[in-house]
């Protein structure tokens, strides 16, 4: 649009500002509330200038929500999701783009279809598998009659059971198994000229060497982008951690935060709760801010 009209400019800017205000004001209010002493939380009209109790409230929230364990759990599971996702996505995309194997198209479409099946859609079967990873094998044994055979022959009843409930693996594996990253890397690899692969073949490097020496360094910015997306995605998970953990020792921050909400008859110490919310928000915000600087660096140093 190269239209030059002051009225249109004014209107568009007004809309943008209104939207920005609508986005930012609640965050601002929670920030202010988090700095208040308990006595001033219920004040009317709501105070819009910060007070000096932020660190005190944060410390209180940390203690009240038992954040030490939860923070650790959140960081560990988010890192597993991020790293696991990038590793699996890159290797899968590498196989799909650079190797010609039987049923390649079929493999690609099966992966692609999972894009349309987010965790929430397949949450019941996923839970069933996670609660007993060996269930499919058990079922196969039963259907084929092998379980019966073993039982009649040896008198032993075959019951295979390996549960991932309350483990980091159970917390992360189902979230890693989606196609977004694979698709991203596949599209990127397709833009890399074939000659690069051929040149490295002529230079004597095998497939893995090519992956390590050429593809990986060229994918840096894509890896950074995916890492940011996956970190935020993993950190903000709520439904799945709630389902797959039963006690506080594997719970994550998002669940801990909801647990801080007051019951119907208790007084709400909103200053502490919102200070806790700020703590929970901090890591993803930091990652986005830091990675943004990294993006810019990657953009300036483009090698093309």
């Amino acid at each position: 649009m190269i239209e030059k009209s002051p009225i249109l400019n004014f209107v568009t800017h007004a809309i943008l500002l209104a939207a920005a205000f609508a986005m930012c004001f609640p965050i601002y209010v929670s920030l202010i509330t988090a700095t208040m002493p308990f006595e001033r939380v219920a004040e009317v009209p709501k105070p819009l200038w910060p007070s000096d109790q932020l660190l005190v409230n944060m410390a209180a929230a940390w203690k009240k929500g038992a954040f030490s364990t939860l923070f650790m759990n959140s960081i560990i599971s988010t890192l597993i999701i991020t790293v696991g996702k990038i590793v699996i996505a890159m290797i899968t995309a590498f196989a799909l783009v650079y190797f010609r194997f039987r049923f390649r198209a079929l493999a690609f479409w099966m992966i692609f279809i999972t894009l349309m099946l987010p965790l929430e859609v397949r949450i019941v079967p996923t839970y069933e598998i996670v609660s007993n990873v060996l269930l499919p094998i058990q079922r196969i044994l039963e259907w084929t009659g092998l379980a019966w055979l073993i039982q009649t022959l040896s008198g032993v009843r075959v019951v295979l059971k390996l549960s991932l409930i309350n483990t980091y693996l159970g917390l992360t594996l189902p979230l890693i198994a989606t196609a977004t990253g694979t698709f991203l890397f596949r599209q990127f690899f397709l833009t890399i000229p074939d000659e690069l692969a051929e040149a490295s073949k002529m230079d004597g490097s095998g497939a893995l060497r090519f992956f390590w020496d050429i593809l990986l360094p060229l994918s840096r910015t894509n890896i950074a982008a995916l890492a940011v997306i996956m970190f935020v995605f993993g950190w903000n998970q709520y439904l799945w951690p709630l389902l797959v953990t039963t006690g506080p020792e594997y719970r994550t921050l998002t669940i801990g935060l909801t647990a801080m909400q007051p019951g119907s008859d208790a007084t709400a110490d909103w200053n502490v709760i919102l200070a806790g919310a700020l703590l929970v928000m901090m890591p993803p915000v930091l990652v986005v801010v830091l990675a943004q600087r990294w993006f810019v660096k990657g953009l300036v140093n483009t090698d093309k």
Binding site: A199, K201, M202, S205
Partner: protein, 375 residues
């Protein structure tokens, strides 16, 4: 001794056959150029030799060793790609040394050889730069350096000059020739540019539609094309090819507009046969003889190119710079019989005794042309 030997090579992609039972052998130290229009299979032939494609059938050997089942790295060949294919994230020095690093050569040795190659190609100043910071010519040199550093038995060039502008192309052509003189490594160079092919080649291979049309020294091929295709592909402007009928006594030919040329010898075909007569524009004589209409003349600086018509066929003639004749609407021309080439309707050359055109039938006979090694 033949350094590169293709025997009965065929190659199909799916149901399309791109190479038809092809035989070729190239002497050690020769600079061989494969010339042909796009889609003639010349690049495929190169890629088969490099190991980037698998042969459908047939044998390839390099220095007496069968290679068609070997991996590219085991074949002792290096390749320069059309778009250079430099690794964009590595510096020039890393690009040059990559093959050695993969081969597990020690770091001081790599540095020594990189420095050596960089000196040969005048890349010393750019070793720390990345490909993105280099000009086209410099990238081209890095691509060549990457091939040279491995000291292979054979160099392969896949249209390496086509991404450069005209001036740089001429310059790099000379550099490639100089390098070949110095190193004497057998080279196979693929191009669709006939000037590149003529100037670089010790031995020229003209391909068309997956078959070899002719093999020989560039000058020989220029003078005695084995087919109408070769005749029209080499030379700029290309050879005029004009349909004609063999006269009743088969010692002359008649063109569409009634122009007759007597040959002084008999053509080995029946009188009345329809043939194609070829003559290069520089051999068309102007001044006396048959009168033909002129379409227009183009100024070339070092001469003029005149576009004429014989019957309904466009014919061009080259005039040298000191030929000051004014070009009007019509011109008298003469086609000297000693410069005429004759081709049958299917494009094959018709052998004529007095001028001793060599028989060279495209489909048969293995073609080996010996070229002494240049050391």
């Amino acid at each position: 001794m033949a350094e590169i030997e293709f025997s009965n090579i065929t190659k199909s992609f799916g149901t399309t056959q791109v190479l038809h039972s092809l035989n070729l052998s190239i002497e050690r130290g020769a600079f061989a150029v494969i010339l042909g229009p796009s889609g003639c299979g010349k690049s495929t032939l190169l890629r088969l030799l490099a190991g980037l494609e698998k042969v459908s059938s047939g044998e390839i050997s390099i220095a007496g060793r069968r290679v068609e089942e070997l991996q590219p790295r085991e074949r002792d060949v290096a390749m320069v790609f059309q778009n250079y294919a430099l690794y964009p994230h590595m510096t020039v020095a890393q690009n040059l040394g990559y093959s050695l690093r993969v081969a597990g050569v020690k770091r001081p040795e790599i540095e020594k050889r990189v420095a050596e190659v960089a000196r040969t190609l005048q890349l010393d100043e750019y070793l720390k730069r990345k490909p993105g910071q280099l000009s086209g010519g410099q990238r081209q040199r890095v691509a060549m350096g990457r091939a040279i550093i491995r000291e292979p038995k054979v160099f392969l060039f896949d249209e390496p000059l086509s991404n450069l502008d005209a001036k740089l192309r001429t310059q790099m052509r000379l550099e490639i020739k100089r390098l070949h003189r110095k190193q004497g490594v057998t080279s196979l160079f693929v191009t669709h540019d006939q000037i590149e092919a003529m100037t670089l080649a010790d031995i020229l291979i003209v391909m068309n539609k997956g078959r070899i049309e002719q093999v020989g020294r560039p000058a020989d091929i220029y003078e005695k094309p084995a087919s109408a295709f070769v005749a029209s592909f080499l030379g700029s402007p290309p050879m005029n090819l004009i349909p004609a009928t063999v006269d009743t006594d088969n010692r002359g030919i008649v063109f569409g507009d009634g122009m007759k040329i007597s040959l002084g010898y008999a053509l080995p075909v029946a009188p009345g046969t329809e043939i194609v007569a070829g003559i290069r524009p520089e051999h068309v004589e102007i001044g006396n003889g048959h009168i033909v209409p002129v379409e227009f003349a183009e100024e070339l600086g070092n001469g003029r190119q005149v576009h004429l018509r014989i019957g309904d066929m466009a014919v061009s003639a080259l005039l040298s710079a000191n030929d000051k004749q004014v070009i009007g609407d019509a011109l008298a021309i003469k086609l000297p019989s000693e410069h005429l080439h004759f081709f049958a309707k299917d494009g094959r050359v018709i052998d004529v005794q007095p001028t001793a055109h060599t028989v060279s039938k495209p489909e048969t006979a293995e073609r080996t042309v010996s070229v002494p090694a240049l050391v």
